[in-house]
């Protein structure tokens, strides 16, 4: 393999244009959730909007900067990425699930309140 071949095989896909497009998209997808929050929006819809925009931006980064695509030579990268996403989902989602139930079932204030109340009723 000569030198120019070696470089060409390792050249990232897409080139400068794809990086510029990705950077512009990332900029818009960063500024818009900040605009939503700094505009004073709140509530479930606003939370859903900023998390939705974050997920879209993550995909923009994956496609334009990490060059994750659907071409056949990418299949192992996609497999590794999906496995990473699964593990992250179990860790983050599982932690949140456990914490939520701990909060619901074991908050000391709630138990103490119920305890005091029942004692008051009994005496």
């Amino acid at each position: 393999m000569n030198v120019s071949e070696a470089i060409r095989t390792e050249e990232p896909r897409g080139g400068l244009q794809s990086y510029v497009a990705g950077a512009l998209l990332a900029l818009v997808l960063t500024l818009s959730p900040f605009a939503v929050v700094m505009g004073g929006a709140s509530g479930t819809n606003a939370v859903a909007a900023i998390f939705g925009l974050a997920v879209i931006q993550i995909f923009v980064h994956l496609v334009f900067f990490l060059h994750l695509g659907r071409s056949p030579d990418q299949s192992w990268n996609i497999t590794a990425f999906l496995f990473t996403a699964l593990i992250l989902g179990i860790l983050v989602g599982g932690s949140y699930w456990v914490m939520y139930h701990l909060d619901q079932n074991m908050m000391p204030a709630m138990h103490m309140g119920a305890f005091v109340e029942s004692n008051l009723v009994a005496t």
């Binding site: 959730p33 929050v37 709140s42 900023i50 998390f51 980064h61 990490l66 056949p72 030579d73």
Partner: protein, 144 residues
């Protein structure tokens, strides 16, 4: 399974081609490529440095106001999360400085694009982490 998956490119020892075998037009192409790479590395380095500067400024201001990591569980988590990301960005800046030296000194051969690709993966992955951090910590935190 394609055959290219079976060749493990990264563990093969790199043998640089003797300089006189590199054609002159390829060598000049490489110099242009090296200049472009250096320019964008420098731009990325400066932007990263701005990011770290802002973060250090924020930390100093917060600690000055008494909102250090020892104040509450929230602030412990905040400083751990944002600080860990900041440490990774700082390591990326060191790595980038090393790559700038290597790009300006080494022949622009096969080993350099591979190292730059690894740096690119590290840097862009940090970016993806940061999307999560600013969404959950800064934006969702400001709303609640």
């Amino acid at each position: 399974m394609s055959s290219e998956l079976l060749t493990i490119d990264t563990v093969r020892p790199y043998v640089p081609p003797p300089a006189q075998f590199v054609p002159r037009e390829v060598a000049s192409e490489h110099r242009t490529a090296a200049t472009t790479v250096l320019g964008f590395l420098l731009l990325t380095f400066l932007l990263g440095l701005c990011f770290i500067g802002l973060e250090v400024k924020e930390f100093i201001r917060m600690v000055g106001e008494g909102a250090g990591p020892d104040r509450s569980a929230f602030l412990s988590a905040f400083f751990t999360l944002v600080g860990t990301h900041g440490l990774h960005v700082t390591s990326g800046l060191v790595w980038m400085a090393v790559m700038m030296v290597q790009t300006s000194r080494r022949e622009f051969d096969a080993v350099l694009p591979r190292r730059l690709t690894c740096l690119s993966l590290f840097w862009h992955f940090l970016d993806i982490i940061w999307i999560g951090v600013f969404t959950v910590v800064y934006l969702a935190g400001a709303m609640s």
